[in-house]
Amino acid sequence: MQSTLFRRVTAALTLLLVSGVSVASDWTERSNVNLRPGVTDISQDVFGLHVAILWVVSVIGLAVFGLIMYSAVAHRRSKRPQASTFHEHVGVEIAWTVIPFIILIFMAIPATRVLIAMDDSAESELTIKVTGYRWNWSYEYLTYQDDNDVGVFFFSNLKTPAEQYHTPVLKDGLFPYGTAADRFGAEPQEKDHDYMLAVDKPLILPAGVKVRFLVTADDVIHSFFMPDFAIKKDAIPGFVNEAWTVVPEDATGIYYGQCAELCGKNHAFMPIEVHVVAKEEFDTWLAEEKEKAASGPDLTPFSNLEAAMTLGKEKYNAACVLCHGAEGQGGIGLPFAGTALMNDSARIQENIDVLIKGRNAMPSFAAQLTPRDIAAVITYQRNAFGNETGDLIQPADVAK
């Protein structure tokens, strides 16, 4: 097995030698020192620009540093006790103003060309509205080819469980926020290879089809960043930005991205996972999703408390945990463990209302969770974290 040092040296040499474009590897692999070429035509144009400008600045930089080094050695006092006295030279000064200017023009031309190409989102076949929230993304398939009302919509949450990232070293101490571990109490887990990147329900894209993203946000500014497609577009509340991509037909696979604009506490916890599949596979998937969406919410009652609790825990850990804590200890959101609202069976309706409509900083979850999910989450809240109401809420209670 080769040592890491060897890999680093080869990576550095590749950086110096790279001139063409290699196929992007899985992003969860160890990072290289250079920019990722990505998989789309645009991302590879961008990579080409990057390599070109990197060469330009490296050559200029090395020339300047070389002159400084040479001067530092050759013109030191022990060699030259008497300094020259020149302090201007019109020719040289004009040269080092004009030559950089010319280099810049030669860089600006390809940059402008790529930028114009990136701006052209016309003739897309699939339009997806991407909405950023604190702290997840939702995807709504708006139009696909002749279908102007696709109506497939879902949220996408971080899949990495808290047991993998919550690994505090301080029990108490200077930084009070570190002590969440005490309240959390679970055994730390090994980190998965797609740690902090995988989501519960990825965005599915067809290969070889021009996809247009309409990017917006629900609360604060987020940024939709997909390095392998060379897309970074801010998601701004009240504004709709446009981005597009065509993933080549031979580049099906899994791609990851992340939120790139600070959006609050869990900015690092809202990744983007994209599965690019063959067009036929996409068509089948979309048809299924469309059918599911058309059939209305699933109101099958829970057969027992256990069934509701299992689903409730899953949904709670996806939708609620970031604010309310894995043990209902609260945080940005209110605590649930042992609170009056969670333990008073007369207040079940209030509990449901808050989840559906939101209250103060708590957003509405009516879009993100189905009535069945909501019933399960509320059942879970009222029977976990030491709460023992025994309340079993059924989807029909929520739907009314």
Partner: protein
Amino acid sequence: MTAVAAHHDHHDDHHHAPHGLKRWLFSTNHKDIGTLYLWFSFAMFMVGGFMALVIRAELMYPGMQVVDPEFFNQMTTVHGLIMVFGAVMPATVGLANWMIPLMIGAPDMALPRMNNWSFWILPFAFTILIGSVLMSAFGEGNPSAPNFGWTFYAPLSTKYGPASTDLFILSVHMMGISSIMGAINVIVTVLNMRAPGMTMMKMPLFVWAWLITAFLLVAVMPVLAGAVTMMLTDRHFGTSFFDAAGGGDPVLFQHIFWFFGHPEVYIMILPSFGIVSAIIPAFARKPLFGYASMVYATASIALLSFVVWAHHMFTVGMPLAGTLFFMYMTMLISVPTGVKVFNWVATMWRGSLTFELPMKWALAFVVLFTCGGLSGLMLALTPVDFQYHDTYFVVAHFHYVLVSGAIFSIFAAAYYWLPKWSGVMPNTFLGELHFWNSLLSVNLLFFPMHFVGLAGMPRRYADYALQFADYNWWISVGAFWFGISQLLFVAVCVLCAMKKGKKAEAAPWDGAEGLEWTVPSPAPFHTFDTPPVIK
């Protein structure tokens, strides 16, 4: 005994010089106020540096180990604010206070009482800001300190800002008032108090750089004040400047902020250009190459800085024409910046070079600032900027220009002028240790940030995917190394303040020129009561 007493009574013509606490609280003396600014900025540098170490401790390994993501965001925010407004800016104002009157042959700053006020606002402003962090760390219920990044984008800082945002707004207003008054003082001093014969084009480049910086400050600090005032009214008085739901525009905030913010980065770096333009000729024993072109380059950088602000926001979805304009203007700014670097190299060329501590720092500045400048040129290309933007590549870029740029030049200035300020030479052994440790660690700290940035690690992330892990470990090692190295500079400064060390002559650097070297070391409490004669 009596002879000594009598001698004291009759000969001390500075008997009115104040002593003790009053000397500092009520000071109107440019040297004392300069000293206050410098110590204050150094203290803030250590506080902000400590926050950086909290950030790096958290990022050393993937996973949340040390602090909660919420506290992490407070650290990144307040680290940035303290370093920009508390460390770099007051340090350069301190240098201006000490050196501008000495360099132009003026007895003091033009507006000495305002000078006192502009300093003494700062400790209060930073007490308010740091107080919110202390409340967050130790207070009941841990009320959040400002947690929206030093750029405080709306609506994260308005509708979603913590209660302490109001403390932040007040604090920024106070810093702004301080900076504006400091800038006015510099402008008035330079334009009115030059010694006879000290024409504008004879002024040392440090004075020129600061004059231009002062105009930038007067132009843009009110813009920042406007931005935070709009935030305040959005938060409390029902306006919707930055809220789309009320007809406002979150992007407007970014335009206003960066209209301040871009000139602000030149406010931090132009004085450094002045410092380096003083030091390199001194140790090359050769006049500065292209003095006039340096002045024009500085002025054109300042002018261009007003028309490049939107390069910080290429991803907000500007129209193509706007994006192209800001890309071309940003690329253009590298021309005058390049001229300055070439001029420094040409100043060294065929000189008679020695490498005392100030020169070492100045050369490190030229090389590492150029690295930061070149990555800046890469960032100017909009299509590639979409990949670099808001990743660690940007973090690497601005730390190269600010830490190994602005702060290294401030160290250079300190080692260069400490003999004049304190009357003793800075300890060479400690100084060499400080230099070499800082030089090596700063590169271990910031160079791998380019790699994780290019690999796609977004900035302001409290936790990260596994592929970024090993470089982050090295970055954190570099950070702790750099942080600990700065304790050596504390020792250097304390020794100088205690007058421990080799006594400095009036002109300790044989190649240095300028009026400041014509007065004794340490510089007496009052200098140039009679204007010097400029040939």
